[in-house]
């Protein structure tokens, strides 16, 4: 009944968010601020992309930095080989996506045969193989890395091309995440997350589904990596393939809410600026490392399901309670059986305690 209204309101909210993001660099032109903003958008896209695979399928990947770094090096090597500069470098992002996807297929075919811990560990192994390969090959420039062509843009609005490219990438990624979550494909992924054997028994062809999500996720991550490389201006093995990247996107997704559409973005919008600001403030990367770890522990122990699911649950319970209070008042007496607030609201994971309490109150 109220669904169209809510969807309309939500679409309006989304448009408002993106409108704010679109005018942001026009209002705040401070280079430090826009630099942090570009970083945040890139990480936002990466976190949403990570969530499309790991959040929906339940296969936690700690190796997405492989695709990030691959994208970075692809853009770097191609720009050097073809002597590209300026806006033309952005045209290499689809190439970064293609290379990342091409890499994701064999890696996925190997890694997705195993589950749970073994999957996590094998993604970590991929990560180290990638980092060592980048260090040892000559085409990647070894440990000194590869330099990006320097853009010839006006200094005052230098960050804007990066900002809008990152924003476009983020918008497309969010749209993909949304479409996938609502689709049959997304349903299959979540069925795999809940019980892969049962899903397979019900006719989900698990491997192609998982692999498709893995590749989609890698494509976006590769493009984010390519963009990041052009923005930062340099790729060296330990920063292009950075273990902190892996942890950061995971923290963002967990913080906002694993498997939700907006959770990873919310996490990125809150965590990345905070981290960048701390790094600038204290010019001490070790402190931000300690704080990131501590924040993550707090999130895991305090908000295990993330801000968005926990928040939505709280709101649903509050609404149900208000409504039941209204109904109780209207009926002029306690009508406990009907007014079991939690059941009616259909809130997931509602504590059994409440039902018990109302049953007790309804007793003689």
């Amino acid at each position: 009944m109220s669904k169209p209204v809510r969807t309309g309101g939500r679409a309006g909210g989304i448009l408002a968010v993106f409108a704010v993001l679109a005018v942001f660099p026009l209002v705040l032109q401070n280079a430090t601020v826009t630099t942090i903003a570009v970083d945040t958008l890139i990480f936002g896209a990466a976190a949403v992309a990570w969530n499309i695979f790991s959040g929906y399928s339940g296969y936690i990947s700690l190796g997405h930095a492989v695709f990030f770094g691959t994208g970075a090096y692809t853009v770097g090597i191609a720009a050097r080989a073809w002597q590209l500069t300026g806006d033309a470098v952005f045209a290499l992002l689809p190439l970064a996506a293609a290379v990342a996807a091409g890499l994701a297929v064999p890696l996925g075919l190997i890694a997705l045969r195993v589950r749970r811990h073994t999957f996590v560990v094998i993604t970590i192994a991929f990560f180290f193989i990638a980092q060592l390969t980048a260090t040892n090959l000559s085409v990647t420039g070894g440990s000194s890395g590869i330099l990006a062509p320097s853009p010839n843009w006006d200094a005052a609005t230098f960050n804007n091309p990066f900002y809008y490219t990152a924003l476009a990438l983020l918008a497309v990624t969010i749209a993909m995440s949304w479409l996938i979550r609502g689709s049959r494909f997304g349903l299959q992924l979540r069925a795999i997350r809940d019980d892969e054997d049962r899903a397979a028994g019900l006719g989900v062809r698990a491997m192609p589904v998982k692999l498709a999500a893995f590749v989609i996720s890698a494509i976006v991550t590769g493009m984010a990596g390519g963009l990041w490389f052009y923005f930062i201006g340099q790729a060296i093995p330990q920063f292009a393939f950075d273990p902190l990247f892996d942890l950061s996107v995971v923290v963002m997704a967990f913080f906002g809410g694993l498997g939700t559409i907006w959770g990873p973005l919310l996490g990125a919008l809150l965590i990345e600026p905070a981290q960048q600001w701390l790094t600038l403030q204290y010019t001490n990367e070790y402190l931000s490392e300690i704080l990131l770890g501590a924040l993550f522990l707090v999130v895991i122990l305090g908000l295990p399901r993330g801000v968005i699911p926990t928040g939505a649950e709280k709101i649903a319970m509050l609404r149900a309670r208000l409504r039941s209070a209204r109904e109780t008042a209207a009926a002029g007496g306690p009508e406990r059986q009907r007014a079991d607030p939690v059941r009616e609201a259909g809130a997931p994971g509602a504590p059994a305690r409440d039902t018990g309490a109302s049953a007790r109150e309804a007793g003689p």
Binding site: G58, H117, T135, Y286, G293, F296, L297, I300
Partner: protein, 293 residues
């Protein structure tokens, strides 16, 4: 060439003993708690720094220092389990605990950087540089002592697991946690103590690592954990014998490739891991995965 190969095999076996010890701790934790302690690598580095502090500032011998560092690491392990692992509940418990360990590792790494800085340090003692002439080879004393110590520790762990009452409760918990609880085993205590033991061996591993690696800094944890993970997966998660065999196999393979190309030697670990998992997803000695309950 033949000589180099013999030397590589000797180095691999001796070095493998130490990796075996660290990996046994990791696989034991996995077997009992069903989590992978990603922090094991940085805990080894922490153990190395503890030995460093004792030997440089208090002039305590490295091996004597273990009498202090092993209990300290045990307590740290129990504390980590108690504070960050035990409270985790729910469907995503396993992945959450893995991430919690990662977070703990980051915090420890950050603290080590702040305290000791990024410079490489080495553990020094007379026996680190001296060597013994044996069967025509020069073997560094530290490798021999370390190997003997690692073998002794693994034997002690074996006795603990297979000849004591506590060991029986650990093995029962590894097999079936619910059933173990039903027959009166205090599973929480077993989990805490196992985590403590698994971390305590990093004190020994860290001392050996610090003395033989030619220098370590807080960043060394990543390299260590990735090797250890490769070892325990290759050996089959939760299999102690598998961890021992895989450790020796991996370090020997690495030493052999090192003759040909030092740059690529490290990659051997991961390539071997990927190859084995492609052919046999449960590892060399692993049980085939049981459906989660």
């Amino acid at each position: 060439m033949a000589r180099q190969i013999y030397e590589a095999i000797t180095d691999g076996i001796l070095g493998g003993g130490v990796y075996a010890l660290m990996a046994v701790g990791l696989t034991l934790i996995f077997g009992v708690l069903d989590i992978i302690n990603i922090a094991q690598g940085i805990l080894v580095v922490l153990g190395a720094y503890l030995s460093y502090v004792l030997s440089v500032h208090l002039h305590i011998d490295l091996f004597v220092g273990l009498l202090v560092t092993v209990p300290v690491m045990f307590v740290i392990g129990v504390a980590i389990q108690w504070l960050f692992i035990r409270p985790l509940r729910g469907r995503d418990r396993t992945s959450m605990s893995l991430l919690a360990c990662y977070a703990v590792a980051l915090i420890i790494e950050g603290i080590l950087y702040r305290v000791f800085g990024p410079n490489y340090v080495v553990l020094n003692a007379s026996y680190v540089t001296s060597s013994v002439h044996l069967f025509g080879f020069y073997l560094p004393d530290i490798y021999l002592y370390g190997f003997a110590l690692a073998v002794a520790c693994v034997a002690a762990l074996y006795l603990l697991l297979y000849r004591t009452r506590f060991g029986r409760s650990v093995r029962a918990t590894m097999q079936n946690q619910t059933a173990a609880r039903l027959i009166g085993i205090d599973v929480n205590r077993v989990a805490a103590v196992t985590f403590g033991i698994g971390v305590a061996v990093t004190a020994v591993g860290g001392m050996m690592f610090g003395a033989t690696s030619g220098g370590f800094n807080p960043n060394s944890g990543y390299d260590l954990i990735s090797r250890l993970l490769a070892i325990i997966i290759l050996g089959g998660l939760g299999s102690i014998g598998g961890a021992l065999a895989a450790a020796v196999f991996m370090t020997t393979a690495e030493a052999l490739v090192d003759i040909w190309s030092p740059d690529w030697a490290v990659v051997v670990f991961y390539v071997a891991l990927v190859l084995v998992l492609t052919l046999r997803p449960s590892g060399l000695f692993g049980r085939s995965p049981v459906r989660a309950q």
